[in-house]
Symmetry: C2
Subunit: 142 residues, 2 copies
Amino acid sequence: MSRLPFNEPTIQRARRIAETIPPAECDPRVEALVNDLIGRVADKWTMIALEVLAEHGELRFTQFARQMRGISQKMLTQTLRQMERDGMVTRTVHPVVPPRVEYRLTELGASLGAAFCGVWIWAEENLAKVEASREAFDAKTE
Amino acid sequence: MSRLPFNEPTIQRARRIAETIPPAECDPRVEALVNDLIGRVADKWTMIALEVLAEHGELRFTQFARQMRGISQKMLTQTLRQMERDGMVTRTVHPVVPPRVEYRLTELGASLGAAFCGVWIWAEENLAKVEASREAFDAKTE
DNA sequence: GGTGACGCTCTCCTTTAGGTGAGTATGGAT
DNA sequence: ATCCATACTCACCTAAAGGAGAGCGTCACC
């Protein structure tokens, strides 16, 4: 039961659309997995966490929180757990009181950070262009 | 009135946390803008749209939809509008019936696509590692 | 004159994201 | 005895994301 990408104009028409371009490129399984992984990894907080951890080497929970402005405790825990599960960070619990937990990047995490590096640079370089474009767009449609 | 990143343990204690690491790096305004732009641009659909458009050069609305599996019509319109506003794509409307609208990358869009390229490669290369890590993690916590 | 094509937009409605404020465990310091 | 620190977790709640399905406008066609 193959689902069409979205509902047809009105339900009984357009049973089929002319296939001007093949429906998708190659291996749909791998493609889906990669898209999925991208969705997970191209997350704002994940990217920022990667950044600050790469910068500081090792961070404790509250230090982390202070570096990531605007994140809630819950989100931070969640992001960090997810990253741990994905093998981006290691989480070391020192069994002392008060608790001491240290996070550091794995090799995998560092490599993703490096891959994102280009995007950060792009963002810094093109911030002005994007803002200008937005203003122009908004002025046109006003 | 500076807000703390999240609530203190119980409200009347911990008025202040020792500042072992300076609260943030440098220019907070630029940093915030860049983080914001990252949040906008590091969006799953934006990344995928960038990819397929880079691959096909020029796409009409329904062609686009067919390339982006699982996206709803609403999301596609929204993503495309946003990208147009940000100056990533141009939208050309041919005043014919039935309507014909073509999307293509701008230089800015292409440069972002190039910046993301590293992330795609990373995702393809490290898919297996991430999956292995997830399995190990889930097995441990079960 | 009914239907279909295209690229939307509009109205619901459900799901998810994410914030808030509190609680918990533990041992050392006061 | 009480307090405090840390790194959480939990319950609750609101806002935002995003899906489903329909409708629209216009012309060419059968």
